[in-house]
Structures are given as structure tokens and as C-alpha cells.
């Protein structure tokens, strides 16, 4: 059993997916017995350091487990470690990291995607049974799953308890799963989903076994293909179209549709996410836990200094922009307007799902970029990379990114989205695709 830790350390030397690796292997009995579960580092693990990728939480050791972690342990899982991420989830490439920057399994000079980059990287390279607990606010599960060629499932908002998650944006955050196969993510979702006394936003639904949706059959499945999502590199568009044709040849039907508000989703998302983030980050102030300095000066001076030292650049930008968007005089023009645009985007999805079981699109407009290319991007150019993943996240609908093909040796992901609580449809289509593609 201890050999798992040796393997993890070897993986760490080459790909750096971890921030912390467990010290000993402890399996119990249950559905996850024998499976190593990694946990994104913004999710609390009892007695195991949890940093959210930030210097301000460098030495934070939670005295409790997040609900999802506790549920996994109850099913016999062993928590192998904490995976690398952009600070608080603020990024698309897992390069805004206070600690390790994970490297792409297909090319070490390239990004794993973000913000759950370590989770997807480990899911791709683990040479032992492993599934990752990840988290998405605006695409942080789908993007790295696409870049690393693995399966990433983001459930409906409220399907999984967020208790013990270090919040980025409460109305957007969703804990989900990344694994090598569709079966992996369905299994883990079955364990972590469900009501929780500690999170009042979890939907009160009965326990469900999501593996029952692993059916190799897409006959009569109606696929909507939103044309706005195909305004990307034409080689990527073609790879995803080929995927849709494979599903068609197995009995599904498809139709092209338009979701005209798609182009506004990015701005609506970033305004809401930053507004919520700036309030969430207010609690990190050099007291009670996290980075502490010598108590000098009054509270304004002390808090400002700790936060100035502890937060990375992207966190600072988002605090400033989020605070600005909520300020008297600007709140209506930015924050409230963004929330109304969100309503419109949700309505468009709801309308589409009256006619279609699932929508299919490319997950990302690009394949994994090189680190040197990312360095040259301005913040707004980095945000633009989320253009395809933000809308389903804003609407809180379940979606999965599944490997669909390769471009220049790098994985391309296909995004399958369905209406609220229709994880079953997403899993069924993804599972069928995974089987028939081989």
C-alpha cells in the first residue's frame, strides 16, 4: 500500500500536481475502498494543510473535514493529498499559484488548465486507482479536464454540499469530480452528492446512484449544437463536430441552434464572481488563522498590510474590481446588471432544453498553451479563454468535459451540458461516447 505514496512522489517530481502529499495510506471499507482520492486545495481536510493555493493560508491546518471529504472517508477512501490550483480559483491556467504549478501530462512546457489544474493532471498521470475532488466556479473543472485529456464533471449548483469549501463566489461554486473515465466521476458523485445540515443551499434530494446512468445507448437523444460555441479554431470545431457525428451514427439526432446571449456571459460572470470574491476574501485579515504579522498599528493598517503581503496579484485585482462593482453609484450598472444578464442566459438555456436533451460544444477555444505564451497575456485576455465555460456555470447546469480527440498531440475536450438536475443525461451521453469512440 505504501507504494502508492512512492508513486505519488515520483509523479510530483515530474508534474507537480500536489501542494501536499499524505504521510501514510489509510483505506477503510466501502464504495471507495482501494481508491485514492485527491482533494483540490480549497477544500478543507482535517489535520492536512489546506492553502487554497494562497500564501495567506500557507500554514492553515483545518480542524475539520469538508462534508465531501468526510463522505469519501466514510466510504473507505484514502485521501492521498491536496492538489495544486490558482490562488482561490482565480485563473484559467493554474499559473496564479503561491506554491506548485502543475505541468501538462502531454508536454511539460504547457499548462494543465485551471483552476483545478493539479486535480486534472493527477487524474491523467496516476498509475494507481485515483479520482479527484475538484471545484468549478466558472469552468475550473472543465478547462483542466479538457487540457489534460480526462473526464471532468461539474454537477448542478446545489447538488453537492459546499461546507468546508474555501469560497470563491458562493452563488457559482460547485464541487465536482475529475477522473480517467466517466464511470469514475459517476461513482464519486454518488458518494459526495446529497443534503447536508451544514449547507442550506444544497438541494433536498434523495440519495442517488449515478452509476445507473452508465448506459451505452443514445438512441433518440436530441442534441442541440449552439453555433456561438463553434466560433473557435476551426480544427477544434471540426474535432468536436466529428464527435457529434459519432453520436449521430449511434442513434442520436442533432440540430444547430443559437444562444444569442452567449457572448455576454463572460462579462456577467466576471462581474458577479469578482463581486462575490471580494466579500469572501474580507475574512482573511491576519487574525484567527492564516498569515499573521507582529501586531503593530491600528486595525486598518494591520489588516491592509497582512492582505498586501498575503494575497497574490490576481487576488488583488479581483478584490479591487469586485469592490468597485459593488460600490454605491456603480452597483446598478455592474453588479445588478450582470445578475439580470444571468437571468437571460438561464432563460435561453431553459428554452433550449425544452427541445433538446443535451447541448454539445467544444470545452475550450484552444488546446493547452505554453507557459511562455500565458505570461504574455493581459488579465482580460486570460479571462477571455473562459468564454465557452462560463455560461453553463452561471446557469448552474450540469456539464461534463470528455476527451474527444487530439490537435497537434494535445487533447481536445467535448462539452456536454444538460438542464438542472439532469446529470443522468450528461453521464449517459458521455459514457456512450467514451465506449463507441474506442
Amino acid at each position: 500500500m505504501e507504494e502508492i505514496l512512492e508513486k505519488a512522489k515520483k509523479i510530483q517530481e515530474k508534474f507537480s500536481p500536489f501542494i501536499t502529499i499524505a504521510e501514510k495510506v489509510e483505506f477503510g471499507k466501502g464504495k471507495l475502498s482501494g481508491i485514492a482520492i485527491s482533494v483540490k486545495d480549497n477544500i478543507c481536510t482535517k489535520n492536512m494543510r489546506t492553502t487554497a493555493g494562497s500564501k495567506i493560508l500557507e500554514n492553515y491546518v483545518p480542524p475539520f473535514d469538508a462534508t465531501v471529504v468526510e463522505k469519501c472517508k466514510r466510504e473507505g477512501a484514502f485521501i492521498i493529498g491536496k492538489t495544486a490550483m490558482d490562488e482561490f480559483g482565480f485563473g484559467t491556467f493554474s499559473t496564479n499559484c503561491a506554491f506548485s504549478i502543475p505541468k501538462n501530462p502531454y508536454d511539460l512546457k504547457r499548462s494543465c488548465g485551471g483552476s483545478s489544474g493539479g486535480a486534472a493532471c493527477l487524474a491523467a498521470v496516476a498509475d494507481f486507482p485515483h479520482i479527484a475532488i475538484a471545484e468549478s466556479t466558472g469552468g475550473s473543472i472543465s478547462c483542466p479536464a479538457s487540457f489534460c485529456g480526462v473526464v471532468g464533471l461539474t454537477p448542478t449548483y446545489g447538488r453537492v454540499s459546499r461546507w468546508g469549501l474555501i469560497d470563491y463566489a458562493n452563488s457559482l461554486d460547485k464541487i465536482g469530480c475529475i477522473g480517467k473515465t466517466v464511470e469514475d466521476v459517476a461513482l464519486l458523485l454518488s458518494v459526495i452528492a446529497g443534503p447536508d445540515d451544514f449547507d442550506s443551499t444544497v438541494l433536498n434530494l434523495p440519495k442517488e446512484d449515478f452509476t445507473r446512468y452508465l448506459i451505452e445507448d443514445v438512441k433518440n437523444v436530441r442534441i442541440g449544437v449552439p453555433k456561438e460555441y463553434f466560433e473557435v479554431d476551426e480544427k477544434i470545431a471540426k474535432i468536436v463536430w466529428d464527435g457529434i457525428k459519432i453520436l449521430e451514427s449511434n442513434g442520436a439526432s442533432y440540430e444547430e441552434i443559437s444562444l444569442p446571449s452567449t457572448k455576454y456571459a463572460l462579462y456577467s460572470y466576471y462581474i458577479i464572481a469578482m463581486a462575490e470574491a471580494s466579500t469572501n476574501l474580507a475574512k482573511f485579515c491576519g487574525m484567527r488563522y492564516g498569515l499573521e504579522l507582529e501586531l503593530k498599528g491600528n486595525f486598518d493598517e494591520y489588516f491592509s498590510k497582512v492582505r498586501g503581503i498575503g494575497f497574490g496579484e490576481e487576488a488583488k485585482r479581483r478584490i479591487i474590481l469586485g469592490t468597485f462593482a459593488r460600490m454605491a453609484g456603480f452597483r446598478d450598472a455592474y453588479y445588478l446588471k450582470a445578475l439580470k444578464v444571468r437571468t437571460k442566459i438561464i432563460q435561453e438555456f431553459k428554452q433550449a432544453f425544452k427541445k433538446f436533451d443535451v447541448l454539445i460544444a467544444p470545452t475550450m477555444p484552444i488546446v493547452a498553451p505554453k507557459f511562455e505564451e500565458i505570461e504574455k497575456l493581459e488579465p482580460i485576455e486570460q479571462y477571455m479563454m473562459d468564454v465557452l465555460t462560463v455560461a453553463p456555470n452561471l446557469a448552474g447546469i450540469p456539464h461534463i468535459s470528455i476527451p474527444c480527440g487530439f490537435l497537434n498531440g494535445l487533447p481536445v475536450g467535448m462539452h456536454i451540458m444538460a438542464d438542472h438536475l439532469q446529470e443522468g443525461k450528461v453521464l449517459r451521453v458521455a459514457y456512450t461516447f467514451e465506449k463507441v469512440k474506442k
Binding site: S200, I271, R288, Y334, E378, P379, I380
Partner: protein
């Protein structure tokens, strides 16, 4: 709307965030690029729409107010403490 240096420093102050002069200089341009892009949402007609604070309808959840055992040491993650209390900076 453009963020001028003065506005940026004011926002940083109310967000309790000390910024270096280099950061102020760098952020000023970057934030204005972002705000310029955000203007795009003005194009959407939202006159008949309510804001969505959540993506789905959230219902209020109530439960009995019962005592539950809590076994954490809330002081375990800080050096700034005295007896059973957190220590913080001066208020005045």
C-alpha cells in the same frame, strides 16, 4: 467609466489592501482594460428581467435549534491569542 489613480487608491483603502506604487501603476491600465470590456453588457436589454442571485431557486431551510457537540479548538491555527481569546490589532 475609467478608474483613475485616485479611485484605485480609494477602493484599495476600503478593501483594506495595501498596494505598492508599482502595483498601482500596473493595475490602473489592466483594470481599465477589464472595465472597458465589461461595458459590453450594456448592450443587453434587461428592462423586464429580475436579477438572479442564484442559478436555481433556493428555499429557506429550517431545523430544530438543538445543541450539537463541537470538538474543534478554534485557537489551534493562531499564535495571536491569550487565554481563551483571539488577539487583534488596536481598534483606536
Amino acid at each position: 467609466m475609467e478608474i483613475k489613480e485616485e479611485t484605485l487608491k480609494h477602493v484599495a483603502k476600503i478593501a483594506r489592501l495595501s498596494l505598492s506604487e508599482e502595483e498601482v501603476e500596473k493595475f490602473k491600465n489592466q483594470l481599465n482594460q477589464v472595465l472597458e470590456a465589461f461595458k459590453k453588457i450594456d448592450e443587453v436589454d434587461t428592462s423586464n428581467l429580475e436579477p438572479s442571485f442564484h442559478p436555481i431557486e433556493i428555499k429557506n431551510v429550517l431545523r430544530e435549534d438543538e445543541e450539537k457537540k463541537w470538538e474543534w479548538d478554534p485557537l489551534a491555527n493562531t499564535k495571536l491569542k491569550e487565554e481563551k481569546y483571539f488577539k487583534g490589532p488596536k481598534i483606536v
